[in-house]
């Protein structure tokens, strides 16, 4: 998904939102205004009704009118933004309501006082007929005025009040009545004017006008909104087409994918057949390789044995030589001893004693020499035979086939055997220093193959020293064993020329050799590597000797049996302790 794609999507979304907003017709705004207008109408009606109802009423309070007035004022404030003219009209109307209340309070008060006063005047004792007539005329015109409240009745009331009937005019009550009569006429004029104005205020027209304006605005808004709706529609159609195209594209793509998949399936099947064939071939190859390697290991073993054979022959030959020399000497010596024995038999057993002959024989056979040399020759032959038998035993040990199993083995003994077997390889080029750890426990090990590893290492060391003997020190191969935290460490060091570091990585490769053709197959270290790492789960590493020149090989073997063995045999771990060789 590209940034452009995202930007496009956002733009599209904003456009749609804009169009959606713009396509609103403002119906809600219209509804709000309509609500306000309805409120104005209803509260206005309440006010009007209350005013008509109250105009001369005595027993009413203004609370209801005041509440209707407050409601109308609130509604008027609501409409100000829509139609200020209507608001001004309503304000005028509300002012009229205020005036109405003032006028109405005065009017009803004056009316009440006039009624009371007329009634009290009737009770005046000794009223003259003229006074009664005037009072009657006053009462009639007053009631007429209250009923009609028009200019004519007002004029009649004023005439009825404007009398100079002494009985009435002199009364204290008349002085109250007369100003109230005047007040009620004046205030009634004002009230009439006010009510006329109030009910002719063009409020309904203004409300209707507001409705028309709003409808017009809404019609315009609807037209505009209609355009935006068309825009929205166009966008929607475009989106639809775009989506359809995309869907088509995707479905085509899916079909293609399906085709490709089936094609792929077919190829995979083909390839699987090929692969299984190849696999079979590989398995065969691996099997073959294993066979070859086993053969290789065997041939290397044979090679090393062959290599050793000459040395071993020499080793055996030398003691054989002096055993046979000594035997020959004993044989010769026996002839002299035999003369003495024969002489002894003649003179002592047969009685043919001849001292002179005996003396001659004795002296001729030099008995002191015989007495000294024969035992020496015999013991020499014995030690020679022991040497031979040692070598033969070591040979036997060295090459004794034990199968491929790991068995708790005495590594020190194996190393000593190997040194012995390889004696002819090193004894002319270097001495061997041995430093074997006394506390080395029995290590799970396949001795035959480990012997071969050791032999390879010793022979390599000897050959290296042989090619380039050290000049400043005695040629020496140092072999040591050590226990280091659950690992038996075998170290073979020589002070030969050493191995260039760049070869360290290749040195354990099969068929790698620096030796001249014919001097080795290049299998020695490769086999050593596989024997140590694969068969024994150990490590083998090469480095420089710590001091001076030379190479240093370190083989590390785990002392505990391999994990699988430990799991299979719970006793193994406890028996492992008992395998620790006592020093």
């Amino acid at each position: 998904v590209s940034a452009q794609g995202i930007a496009g999507a956002i733009l599209l979304l904003l456009t749609i939102l804009f169009l959606l907003r713009s396509s609103e017709t403002g119906q809600t705004a219209f509804d709000d205004v309509e609500t306000d207008l309805k409120l104005i109408e209803s509260h206005g009606t309440r006010v009007g009704v209350a005013m008509s109802f109250l105009s001369f009423e005595l027993q009413m309070d203004f609370d209801s009118l005041t509440e209707a007035e407050a409601d109308l004022r609130a509604a008027a404030n609501g409409i100000e933004a829509v139609n200020p003219d209507l608001k001004t009209l309503l304000d005028g109307q509300l002012t009229m309501v205020e005036d109405f209340k003032s006028l109405q309070a005065v009017l009803r008060n004056s009316r009440s006082i006039i009624e009371q006063t007329i009634k009290t005047l009737w009770t005046t004792p000794d009223l003259s007929q003229e006074a009664e007539n005037s009072l009657h005329e006053l009462e009639r015109s007053f009631l007429d005025f209250i009923a009609r409240r028009d200019p004519q009745s007002a004029a009649e009331l004023r005439r009825a009040l404007d009398i100079d009937q002494p009985d009435l005019v002199s009364s204290e009550l008349w002085r109250i009545l007369e100003p109230h009569g005047e007040t009620i006429i004046v205030y009634n004029d004002r009230m009439t004017l006010l009510m006329g104005e109030f009910f002719t205020l063009p409020v309904p027209q203004a409300i209707a006008e507001t409705r028309r304006t709003i409808s017009r605005e809404i019609a315009e808004a609807t037209t505009v909104a209609g355009r935006y709706r068309i825009g929205l529609f166009v966008v929607a159609v475009l989106l639809l087409i775009f989506s359809a195209a995309k869907v088509l594209e995707v479905s085509q793509y899916l079909r293609m994918v399906q085709r490709t998949n089936s094609e792929l399936d077919r190829r995979v099947k083909e390839r699987t057949v090929e692969l299984s064939k190849a696999n079979m071939a590989l398995l065969n190859e691996i099997h073959e390789r294993e066979n070859i390697e086993a053969q290789l290991r065997l041939s290397q073993k044979l090679e090393s044995i062959g290599q050793l054979a000459a040395g071993v022959a020499h080793e055996i030959n030398t003691p054989t030589q002096f055993v046979s020399d000594n035997v020959a000497f004993v044989d010769e010596a026996w002839a002299k001893v035999s003369e003495i024995v024969d002489d002894y038999e003649k003179s002592t057993i047969n009685g043919m004693r001849d001292d002179a002959r005996s003396r001659a024989i004795w002296e001729r056979s030099s008995p002191d020499f015989l007495r000294e040399e024969i035992p020496a020759a015999l013991s020499g032959a014995g030690s020679g035979l022991k040497q031979i038998s040692d070598i033969v035993r070591a040979m036997k040990e060295f090459s004794h086939p034990r199968g491929d199993r790991l068995e708790p083995s005495d590594l020190n003994a194996a190393i000593e055997n190997t040194i012995m077997v390889a004696r002819s390889e090193w004894k002319y080029v270097a001495k061997i220093e041995v430093d074997l750890a006394d506390d080395l426990p029995l290590v799970p090990c396949n001795v035959t193959t480990m012997n071969q590893v050791m032999l390879n290492l010793i022979v390599n060391a000897a050959q290296a020293i042989g090619e380039s003997p050290p000049e400043e020190e005695e040629a020496c191969i140092r072999i040591s064993t050590e226990v280091k935290g659950g690992v038996a460490e075998i170290c073979v060091e020589d002070n030969g020329p050493g191995i260039p570091e760049e070869l360290y990585e290749r040195i354990f490769d099969p068929f790698f050799t620096t030796k001249d053709v014919g001097k080795g197959t290049g299998q020695g270290l490769g086999i050593a590597y596989r024997v140590v790492t694969q068969m024994h789960r150990g490590t083998i590493a090469v480095s420089r000797r710590h001091r001076g020149r030379g190479a240093r090989f370190v083989v590390r073997l785990p002392i505990s049996p391999p994990a699988s063995a430990a799991e299979n045999d719970p006793a193994a771990s406890s028996s492992a302790d008992s395998l620790v060789r006592s020093a």
């Binding site: 309440r46 009704v49 027993q59 309070d61 005041t66 209707a68 209340k101 005065v106």
Partner: protein
């Protein structure tokens, strides 16, 4: 609420027809013999006065916060006065002075009206220039003569009070600010109502709540025409009226001031000159002196002036006693938690 009132209103023609039906006896009552017996019209017929509705919860947190602010002198710019300085709640909701004394000792132009039941007034101030309690509070706060507050400075002063700030935080989403200060004070003023006055109890049907004098006083109050303006649940507070309908009060008093023009100062209309909001008569016995100019020191003086200049009549000393008795029956205490 609105719809309820609306219904009540439309029920009027029905009640009106009953009133007409009962017209005859009503006439008889108007005609007098007040001393002998007094009965209220049967319940359900219209009376021009009505009892006060119940009070809001005086212990509501917002009301109590408003109470603290109402008595808080930090609201005035120099910290010398609070709302309560001119509106002593325990003493009738005003200050007993002819005109009040502002933060710098300067006198205000008109007499302080009571705050008690002012929530039922249709407009605030003598000239009705504020339609809501909130507007009235705001104007009084910033008035140079009265509290002289710079509202933002006032807000900063109050903000230093951590406890006050946390009270606001608990009650208002946007915490302490000028609008909320005014709102809380208004909530307190709305709660400053005094239902349960003896006359209200009488209106509610307890005939033992008032004496015969009070009942006779009410009859006189009606007959004289006081009730023309002092009507409704607040006995006033719902209309403007000219001071001096039946006589020229201001010419007789002399020294006309701009404040005497009343509503004219707000509307500029000639017919509004000398017009004032008709004040409530609730607790009137406790709010001397009287009128916008504080010129009437006693209730008797005030009644005499009113009867003379508004009703064009005279009042006998015996009638005066009855009227005072009636007006005294309109007093009630605000509930304890509001003091």
């Amino acid at each position: 609420m609105g719809s309820l009132r609306f219904q009540t209103f439309y029920a009027m023609p029905f009640w009106f027809s009953i009133a007409i039906f009962l017209g005859g006896c009503s006439e008889n009552r108007v005609s007098g013999e007040a001393e002998q017996s007094f009965e209220l019209p049967a319940l359900g017929t219209f009376l021009p006065v009505s009892p006060l509705p119940g009070a809001p919860d005086p212990e509501a947190p917002i009301v109590q916060l408003g109470k603290s602010l109402f008595h808080d002198q930090r609201l005035s710019s120099n910290g010398s006065i609070s709302c309560a300085s001119c509106h002593d709640i325990a003493a009738g909701g005003d200050d007993g002075r002819v005109t009040s004394i502002g933060l710098n000792g300067e006198k205000t132009s008109v007499n302080a009206p009571t705050v008690l039941n002012s929530t039922f007034n249709f407009a605030q101030f003598w000239d009705g220039r504020a339609r809501t309690i909130e507007d009235q509070i705001r104007e009084t706060l910033v008035s140079e003569i009265e509290m002289g507050a710079d509202l933002s400075a006032m807000e900063r002063r109050l903000r230093r009070d951590d406890e006050l700030v946390s009270r606001f935080d608990r009650l208002y989403q946007n915490g302490l600010n000028t609008d909320n200060v005014i709102d809380a004070i208004a909530a307190y003023v709305d709660a400053l109502v005094t239902p349960g006055a003896p006359f209200d109890r009488f209106l509610n049907g307890d005939s033992t709540a008032v004496s015969k004098e009070v009942a006779a006083g009410y009859q006189l109050f009606t007959d004289l025409g006081c009730i023309s303006c002092h009507q409704g649940r607040n006995l006033g507070g719902n209309l403007f009226q000219t001071f001096g309908i039946m006589g020229d009060y201001f010419a007789d008093r002399g020294d006309v001031t701009i404040a005497d023009y009343g509503r004219f100062n707000v509307t500029g209309r000639e017919q509004d000159r000398y017009k004032f909001k008709v004040p409530t008569l609730r607790n009137v016995a406790r709010t001397a002196p009287y009128f916008h100019d504080g010129s009437a020191a006693t209730l008797e003086d005030a009644i005499k002036i009113m009867v003379q200049y508004q009703l064009g009549r005279n009042v006998e000393p015996s009638e005066l006693l009855l009227l005072v008795a009636f007006l005294e029956s309109l007093s009630a205490d605000v509930s304890g938690p509001l003091l």
